[in-house]
Point group: C2
Amino acid sequence: MVQEHLAGSVAQVLGANASFYRAFTKGDFEAMRGLWAERNPVTCQHPLSPTLIGLEAVLESWRQILREPPPLAMRCDDPVVHLLGDVALVSCYEGNGDHPAHLVATNGFVREVDGWRMIHHQAGPLGRARSRPPAPTLN
Amino acid sequence: MVQEHLAGSVAQVLGANASFYRAFTKGDFEAMRGLWAERNPVTCQHPLSPTLIGLEAVLESWRQILREPPPLAMRCDDPVVHLLGDVALVSCYEGNGDHPAHLVATNGFVREVDGWRMIHHQAGPLGRARSRPPAPTLN
């Protein structure tokens, strides 16, 4: 039962993490806003940039990023979820479209009453871009 | 009481965070090893580098970094603690000696039986180095 519960939580966190990259790719600010925590403090560190503290500053940054045309087709490779009770950290790589991943990222989530919400995002450059993992083959 | 408890936890997290930079500066691998969580999963993303997963890989990276002479005088500026129960995220800037901070970082901690331990570290370059905050003045 405990294992099933944990597996369910990890799947939920991966779902929230995927929603983040979907909102990014679609340039969907409302979806992005809906992902960030409202009942917990938030921070965001965009590549090469100083820390944004608090929901207002974080959402304003996303509003600006997501209105830039054309939208970036942001992809998340190799997400690793570490679950710590009602908090989860996801480590992953970020790439644009089919290009090798050029960023390494941390995404923090907390379980709020209506699901997992984002509390933190940091993305920074990789020294060497990382090839996209091969698509899984069906046996 | 709750406020006092929270303030106490934040102070403890700041203490653990300061210990991390002290171990870094002293090149003290044993102190660094003692800081990392043993009962929770850990990850580490050094600047420009891919994610290290698990205690063995993380500690091996620190063993290599800390034996490089001369030790870096790593400084942590403007740490902001966000407490989420028994998990804490610290956002801060990192500088070497008296130079402006050249990195932005996330440090994750979890409360284990014997205190706050590190579960995650990500540091990435800042596009523009950030001046060291002025030393507090005594009134």
